[in-house]
Symmetry: D2
Subunit: 392 residues, 4 copies
Amino acid sequence: MRYITAGESHGPQLTAIIEGLPAGLEISPEMLDLQLARRQQGYGRGDRMKIERDRADILSGVRWGKTLGSPVTLVVKNRDWENWLEKMSPLAEHEGQAEAVTRPRPGHADLCGAMKYGHRDVRNILERSSARETAVRVAVGAVARGLLHALDIRIGGVVVEVGGVAAKPSAEPYPQQWAQAAASEMFCCDPAAELDMKRLIDHTKSIGDTLGGVVEVQVLGLPPGLGSHVQWDRKLDARLAMALMSIQAIKGVEIGLGFEAARRPGSKVHDEITWNPARLQQGELTPYQRPSNHAGGLEGGMTNGEPLVVRAAMKPIPTLYTPLQSVDIATHEPYEASVERSDTCAVPAALVVAEAVVAIELAQALLEKFGGDSLDEIRRNRDNYLAGLRDF
Amino acid sequence: MRYITAGESHGPQLTAIIEGLPAGLEISPEMLDLQLARRQQGYGRGDRMKIERDRADILSGVRWGKTLGSPVTLVVKNRDWENWLEKMSPLAEHEGQAEAVTRPRPGHADLCGAMKYGHRDVRNILERSSARETAVRVAVGAVARGLLHALDIRIGGVVVEVGGVAAKPSAEPYPQQWAQAAASEMFCCDPAAELDMKRLIDHTKSIGDTLGGVVEVQVLGLPPGLGSHVQWDRKLDARLAMALMSIQAIKGVEIGLGFEAARRPGSKVHDEITWNPARLQQGELTPYQRPSNHAGGLEGGMTNGEPLVVRAAMKPIPTLYTPLQSVDIATHEPYEASVERSDTCAVPAALVVAEAVVAIELAQALLEKFGGDSLDEIRRNRDNYLAGLRDF
Amino acid sequence: MRYITAGESHGPQLTAIIEGLPAGLEISPEMLDLQLARRQQGYGRGDRMKIERDRADILSGVRWGKTLGSPVTLVVKNRDWENWLEKMSPLAEHEGQAEAVTRPRPGHADLCGAMKYGHRDVRNILERSSARETAVRVAVGAVARGLLHALDIRIGGVVVEVGGVAAKPSAEPYPQQWAQAAASEMFCCDPAAELDMKRLIDHTKSIGDTLGGVVEVQVLGLPPGLGSHVQWDRKLDARLAMALMSIQAIKGVEIGLGFEAARRPGSKVHDEITWNPARLQQGELTPYQRPSNHAGGLEGGMTNGEPLVVRAAMKPIPTLYTPLQSVDIATHEPYEASVERSDTCAVPAALVVAEAVVAIELAQALLEKFGGDSLDEIRRNRDNYLAGLRDF
Amino acid sequence: MRYITAGESHGPQLTAIIEGLPAGLEISPEMLDLQLARRQQGYGRGDRMKIERDRADILSGVRWGKTLGSPVTLVVKNRDWENWLEKMSPLAEHEGQAEAVTRPRPGHADLCGAMKYGHRDVRNILERSSARETAVRVAVGAVARGLLHALDIRIGGVVVEVGGVAAKPSAEPYPQQWAQAAASEMFCCDPAAELDMKRLIDHTKSIGDTLGGVVEVQVLGLPPGLGSHVQWDRKLDARLAMALMSIQAIKGVEIGLGFEAARRPGSKVHDEITWNPARLQQGELTPYQRPSNHAGGLEGGMTNGEPLVVRAAMKPIPTLYTPLQSVDIATHEPYEASVERSDTCAVPAALVVAEAVVAIELAQALLEKFGGDSLDEIRRNRDNYLAGLRDF
């Protein structure tokens, strides 16, 4: 499975093509729109989120609610396109219908992108580097979630930190945490922390600043043995790190204990192994059990049967009301970069995107492990493999 | 440029093939052996490091000290091979010449790897998942370093944390930090912290435990515009995260401020842009300047002309003298996993490996940006690009 | 540069995303539509070609007539979509709104595709395997042609054989052959052969049969050294063979003399090398000259500075009025496969598709050789390289 | 599965790494050496073949006769290395220990390769472009053959044409043809044609010329549904064409009828489909049957259950005793390229290489279809799939 996305943030649409999906997978616009809606939620968003109520069109690869095995085309329209018809037109005749943007913003792709591609109009960069692109990645992720779901794998996540306010680690099972997060404006399952986060957002907004945070994605039901230790580029932890770091504004990635693992002695880090055949009756995939999950479900670049736990750190949105010093590339004069409309905090949205890219990587790892061109075939192959693990 | 590594830790050798190098790049065994030697240094290593004094043979793609443009084969021999001739023999006739390893170690690929590949002898997994593989990656990295060097790019790094003991951030220029680190048994440029680290290692060793830590890699002289914002899998930050996370025992990756960026307000995170043509006289590549480098030299998935700064968190070595609970897969009986010989801390080695994989990714990004089949051609293409940036 | 296509032949549209194009390349709908129109021409087409007058929409990656460097989305609408809204709907609620196709046609993907993907309705295969897909590949090819054109490379082709009627080899320069082909209903530059081809088509149509043929693509102005000899999957001849064989109905590929080279002695096959500095004044790229071009411009998997000449053999369209024996997969009863509407000969269209895929592979080879993120940068890099060749 | 090869023809060795093989596959040096020996046979070879009696070493990924799942390293030593120690040394200190080759040979990579990589010594190209590289590809192919064999797939081939002398098409089952070919010095199963071929070789050798020919590879027992119609680069016919055209000296590729298909009417090309459940008792994989196999076992880019039949056209060896005109790149003076020792005809060797690359592509297609990390798992997945086909 592979996918490519395309589209500028003020162009007509975002497009993605997903190649290599099996046939027979149930896909509905509702599945996609549900995730797109989640991405638009969260306390601390600006007004643009209200303009666009995203939905996805399925333009190939799905018939009568099921994948065909052929490439799936997903389109998320940009609702504001009518105001940009000429400014972002593909036609040469519209050249000059918008003033060049010559003021690169700190923290964005603006300056280095313009240098790289030889553009003097920074709009030619910022249109594509914008986090708007994540909308269609979330749609791709929704398809991947469909495959996970069909293979009895559950994925969710929570916001664990915003601007330094950290949620208390929850002792609840993950699905309960997800339910709590779904009911929270911060996608956070610690109500006290949520309150503090919202207060901090209000204050930060009032002074024209912005906030980042940390999100955690959790996945249940993964068979052991996804990914591989045999080659550097087939390690699932490496692939997940790439996927998460590829999200706009992400500056750090952790698996399991993450950086904390670097601070503890080995005896407090590694997850002991026990064997309990009764687990099979409880619906677990193998009798092997871990009293702890500090590894976050990944050992040697492979899933180990425990829940997958990954975290990503998002920097604050670089578009601030508070001015940042920059330089006009046309005049080389300094100016103060500031904006009139922006989000204060997009960490909840980042969680949804993080879940999406994790789902995509896992879907790919599942297809590599189980082959198969139809969902039925994959399920049979998976069942065979799991049968072998039960008395391993 | 792409590369594949092969080899088991007690097989005859590790092998790597590097494909896509330009012609005319100077490569010597000394360049490779220097890095291999660095990887074997560091306070806290066990005895195995003494058995193997690694060196690399160049078996293709280099003639008379320069690359040909054809694939480069690197081989690092395993010095202990004579003791494993039959135990690790490729020949069917030696089947059974070693007892099966049936006791998977916590924190290793052992159990999930055996499940995935259907092995009942865990040796068939641990031989490849071992960090021994990083020796040949360091050799590949030494070749990549050669390309960086030829393009006036400098790379180095320091150990910033071991077992919770953190080095004070240094105000020295990076090359001076590297010089200090080179003189330190911990590859650390804060002598006080180094002392504490070594004391902690001694103590930890005495109680049979192990330690991880955090390493930081820094790169100077990178032209802006390596990587790209246009597609998720072409972002340089994503690729670096993948490369770093693919190193055995790495559980976290940060770029620039990393997780700290998630805790600060935006006004304290984004690097302002100024313009100072005098910089060109000082040998800088562009007149654009950043008073800070919180982004770690990467914005929008591209280098921005500032030093690249990335960090990786290494978990403690999972092979402890202190026993960890596990299960024998042949009998399903519990046992206590412990070892007789091991490193206490391999964080300095991890720094060398981290530098290697960062160098590899940067070499690849340079070749994508500048094309070129010979070093001369790449240099000319690079010069053209840089000329354009000087009056951007 | 890479590209993926998507879309079913009776779905709403065909979509392609092209990733990795440089910025600054001129792209217009006219460039695309010109090639799409050529693909629909040719003597011997059925009625469907009249339903669809294809045109391409550019939905990302191009602004004001020039590429941005970001992915380019191309869409070719299926004009008949309104008649298939429910039959090919992505929505589960339309399930059953068309009868299942249970009769696989010989010579198509129908039977093996249904087996592979587990479909009992052959429509789920034939919609994607249809040569309709080539429409959007021709659009992708038109973009690639734009890049070739911008680098002073000219591409064209002729139909050289239809149903066994072979055109006489022309002694005219290629551009003149292309002009003649453009004026011919068979894209053939031998008027006598064209007449015979058309007569054969008329006769074949009258008996309900179909015809294939051979097309030749020629490219002028390619710098020597595209592709590489160093690795099997980087050889340009190999990549061209893959691209051509990937076209629906192609069963053979030749480069230069092709199979004829296997029949001649070596002394009549290899192209001698002479040196004539006057060639530079005539606009040639190097002083090296070949009195013959039996190699078709490719030696050792690389362009050698001579015109590239490749041929592809197309089998007759497998959808015949003349019935072919097949089996209904629902009943396992035999039936006679025949159709009511079809093309008799689509060889001219195949030429246009062949030109497209050759253009795409060459564009990719150029970008690999010259790197560069903007057309200006590529041109500078190319000029540097060519300067070096002039006194090689 | 992927593989890379490395090595110069007078360097110490050829190396290949195969990545992505399942565990549990039986591999022996004998399997490899058998194919290497076949490659060195055939009437019409020169003396070099006697110098080198190739054998392959297995240096990773195989233990006690079975693959581990980790990368397999194969090495074929160059027996003449001791005479080239300094001339091809990787060390700078040996620079100048051999005179530069400045005379590019027509029909070789020499001139365009030197231009591309900026070499003034053509040896830096010809060492890698030499067909010597195919030795290690044959070793890789032997491993792939092992996988085919383990999945009950048989592969073989025959020489069908040399220098215009064509073998009569055989009516024997393929395995019998292979047995006849194995007993023939020309790998040809028509004794009369073999005699003519050998006479032609004798004559051609006497006049210092060389000969090419056509080889045919045939594969039995392939399950239908390998490859895919859904994307251009996943079509198995395209991949086979790439693999075959990547072999040194191949200039044409055909599948099934190939170019002949372009000359016949559709009614004489497409393979009708019948249904005969008795086939299952005869060991066939499905009840569907084709009275003819003009498609060569591939429809829509997928195997269709019939034997795979592909052909490749080899040009004559370009190294002739008969001089060809060329130019010295140091002086720009003309000279006559000729050699003192060479093969007259290497078509039988090309057959062995063609079988190898076909086996590799099929192994890859099987692994994509059936996933699986161990041979047992692949077999179970394959059996499940085939069970479904029996009553399709």
